[in-house]
């Protein structure tokens, strides 16, 4: 059976060149970079080399990059680290209703400890209004955390505008850039963000590594305390395989971003147009223009996305529904719910996210398989009368 992977916002395959550079760290280069002897020295340089590559991709200084284990760690560190580190200033933060659970649930966790959080709403496109953020600012606000792009809709948020507001009030600004890093160019100086979170496996590095940009001078406490690694901001023996991999992935991303975004963007356009042409009663969710080039979130009216996902999987096509619980059962998407979508639409929403390795044949195969499946499910649906 043909296998088509359209779920790159969930995770991506490891780039062959990335795989190549990590192999020595799975065998002879086993040292601990903190060791003073030859085995340690040998690997230490690779950590710093990787840091440089990461810094370069986002126009930061290498000293502003901290390696983490994943996006969730980065989000936790940013939020808990900033709030704990600025207790004298206040206990309030602002975020949005459509953040990833790594942010959303961390906020909920902190609310139990007396911190206060304002959740800014989204409109029917799933976009936020920077003005809502301005209005939510209080005297004791210490942090604003807004994702760069939404994982479900692909919407790109006006980070630069928000950072200006944060700057105006002297509030620390964090952005969860997990869906953006490696996909489109990031310039932290231009964006003027204080903390930025990224995850390696979303752009062709393996799972288990991420990075955190922390602007020099920003007051943040470590989430994991212990040894002196990572400027004492993130203890724990360095994950050499992950660090080397994410460095290489950043280098590749920088070199290929323009070409890749054009190619993948065209494939996604073809897919979206094809579905629009071939399948009636569908709605494309998210903002019409300000969206990641690789993401299409489409509502198939009158059907349950769960059934569609299963039947596409049976034909080898991997896509995703909004949210899943830990066992994997489909749950209503809180992002689409926050957009106040007609339940008829939100129940039938499917996310196609494209990336490395996808071809026009993949798209054509999907366009051939999908329409009859939708028709079949609709025929069995009590809601569909046509």
């Amino acid at each position: 059976m043909r296998k088509v992977y359209f779920d790159h916002n969930a995770t991506t395959p490891i780039h062959p060149e990335v795989k190549e550079v990590i192999l020595p760290f799975l065998s002879e280069k086993f040292g601990n970079p903190s060791s003073l002897h030859w085995a340690g020295r040998e690997v230490r340089a690779y950590v710093e080399e990787a840091r440089e590559k990461v810094a370069k991709m986002i126009n930061a200084d290498p000293s502003e990059i901290i390696f983490t284990s994943c996006g969730s760690e980065g989000d936790n560190m940013a939020i808990k680290g900033v709030l704990m580190g600025n207790l004298k200033k206040g206990r309030h933060m602002i975020t949005t209703v459509v953040e990833h659970p790594a942010v959303y649930r961390t906020c909920k966790f902190l609310e139990k400890f007396g911190f206060e959080v304002t959740y800014v709403p989204v409109d029917s496109y799933g976009m936020i209004d920077p003005d809502d953020i301005r209005k939510a600012i209080r005297k004791d606000t210490v942090l604003i955390s807004v994702m760069y792009a939404n994982n479900e809709t692909g919407n790109i948020f006006p980070i630069k505008e928000i950072s200006k507001i944060a700057r105006e009030y002297g509030i620390i600004f964090h952005t969860d850039a997990v869906q953006v890093a490696g996909k489109i160019p990031i310039d932290v100086k231009d964006l003027d963000v204080d903390i930025l979170t990224a995850s390696g496996h979303k752009f062709n590095a393996p799972k288990g590594v991420g990075f955190q940009y922390i602007k020099r001078g920003v007051e943040v406490l470590p989430l994991i305390s212990g040894g002196h690694q990572e400027r004492e901001l993130r203890a724990g023996t360095e994950n050499m395989v992950g660090i080397v991999a994410i460095g290489k992935a950043c280098e590749i991303a920088m070199e290929t971003m323009d070409k890749k975004s054009k190619e993948i963007g065209e494939l996604k356009e073809r897919l979206e147009k094809g579905i629009l042409e071939k399948v009636p009663d569908i709605v494309i969710n998210g903002h019409p223009e300000k969206r990641l080039y690789n993401t299409a979130n489409i509502s198939f009216k009158y059907i349950e996305a769960e059934a569609l996902l299963v039947m596409l999987d049976m034909q080898g096509i991997a896509v995703s529904t909004g949210s899943a619980c830990s066992s994997g059962a489909t749950e209503p998407s809180y992002v689409l719910q926050a957009m106040n979508l007609d339940p008829l639409c939100s129940r039938g929403a499917l996310r196609f996210s494209l990336g490395l390795g996808n071809t026009i044949e993949d798209v054509e195969y999907c366009l051939e398989i999908l329409p009859p499946i939708v028709e079949k499910i609709r025929k069995m649906s009590p809601f569909y009368k046509k």
Binding site: M311, M314, S326, S327, G328, A329, M380
Partner: protein, 350 residues
């Protein structure tokens, strides 16, 4: 082309082995774990993660596709709400029977057919055989495990779309088979409890909004013997939990929800012969002159009885020998030897 089967996998040894046996006999198999209930401990959490993980590992071992499907809404509406309202009516429900009929062999069956399945299969110990042009259910070969009781109200026309591969297996054979397939669930302990109840059903009913309300416990002549904290905490034949000190054991004989009354009597009073069943389902036309074997609860071994038509879907059952604790809300299931003839819900005991 081989026929496609959807196996309802619970993460237990029976359904795991069912999937293995069907795969081995040449069916194109896919597994489904039904997400039915949240314990409500976390805001976006799930129940039985361990079970769904076990089912996933079995599916991977057998190299079959596997999906976790969300049936929480349906389960709440058709099983949990029924469970609560039955207790509210002073009856003792059987949620497994409702789940089989509504969730597994209706909602899941329909979904499985959408996915292209020709059959749905479960790990029930029950035989399904073709007699002439018709399909019938029979008690399983392993009489101690027989679960045909829980299947009495399936719609006859859907039997042709069901497979029960364990009907001819004993539990030991199933475990052996599971070990041969090298399934992680081979030695897994059996679950006996009602799946959505964590501690006891009384706490659960309370959580679901059935509030305790003090009422009287009276004897058969209406004399007050004591008080109780809510009639739904009782079931017919129950002895423990009665805070009555009258010097001899008494048992719940009748529950009158409208008056919040629990009536108790001695053991002898629990033995009855005649009762009414409602919402009756038959797989074949009943013979009113015949003596059938009728089970009045899952653990009942079945006794000789005759049935009489009363009204549409209501029948009168008359045992040859009086039976202890015939309980409204439980199912009376009718057998002709090993063949499942039908059954109904116990409505009233005379």
């Amino acid at each position: 082309m081989s026929k496609k089967v959807c196996v309802a996998m619970s993460g237990g040894v029976d359904s795991s082995t069912t999937a293995g046996i069907l795969k081995e006999s040449g069916f194109e198999v896919f597994g489904v774990f039904m997400k039915l209930w949240d314990s409500g401990k976390s805001d976006r959490g799930c129940c039985s993660l361990d079970d769904s993980n076990d089912a996933l590992r079995v599916a991977n071992k057998l190299e079959i596709p596997f999906y976790v499907l969300n049936f929480k809404k349906e389960f709440k509406e058709y099983v949990v709400d029924y469970f609560v309202s039955e207790y509210q009516r002073g009856r003792t429900p059987n949620p497994c029977i409702m789940c089989n009929r509504s969730i597994k062999f209706d909602f899941l069956l329909k979904k499985a057919k959408t996915f292209g399945a020709d059959y749905i299969a479960t790990g029930h110990y029950c035989k399904l055989e073709k007699v002439g042009d018709d399909f019938f259910l029979f008690k399983a070969a392993d009489k101690r495990k027989d679960q045909s009781y829980f299947l009495f109200n399936l719609d006859k026309p859907i039997l042709k779309e069901i497979l029960f591969p364990l009907g001819n297996f004993t539990k030991d054979q199933v475990r052996k088979k599971a070990s041969e397939f090298k399934l992680v669930t081979a030695e897994k302990r059996e679950s006996q409890e009602i799946c959505f109840i964590e501690k006891n059903y009384r706490d659960f009913l309370n959580e679901m909004g059935l509030k305790e309300k003090k009422g009287y416990i009276v004897d058969l002549k209406g004399r007050v013997l004591g008080t109780h904290k809510g009639y739904f905490n009782f079931t017919i034949g129950q002895r423990s939990g009665l805070n009555v000190a009258i010097g001899k054991p008494v048992y719940v004989s009748k529950i009158i929800p409208d008056e919040n009354l629990v009536i108790v009597g001695d053991d002898e009073n629990l033995y009855r012969t005649t009762f009414l069943i409602e919402n009756v389902n038959f797989f074949e036309t009943p013979d009113f002159s015949k003596e059938y074997d009728i089970k009045i609860r899952y653990s009942h071994r079945g006794e000789k009885a005759k049935i009489k038509k009363k009204e549409d879907k209501e029948y009168l059952v008359e045992f040859t020998i009086p039976q202890r604790g015939i309980t409204p809300g439980q199912a009376a299931v009718i057998y002709d030897s090993d063949k499942l003839v039908g059954g109904g819900w116990i409505k009233e005991v005379f």
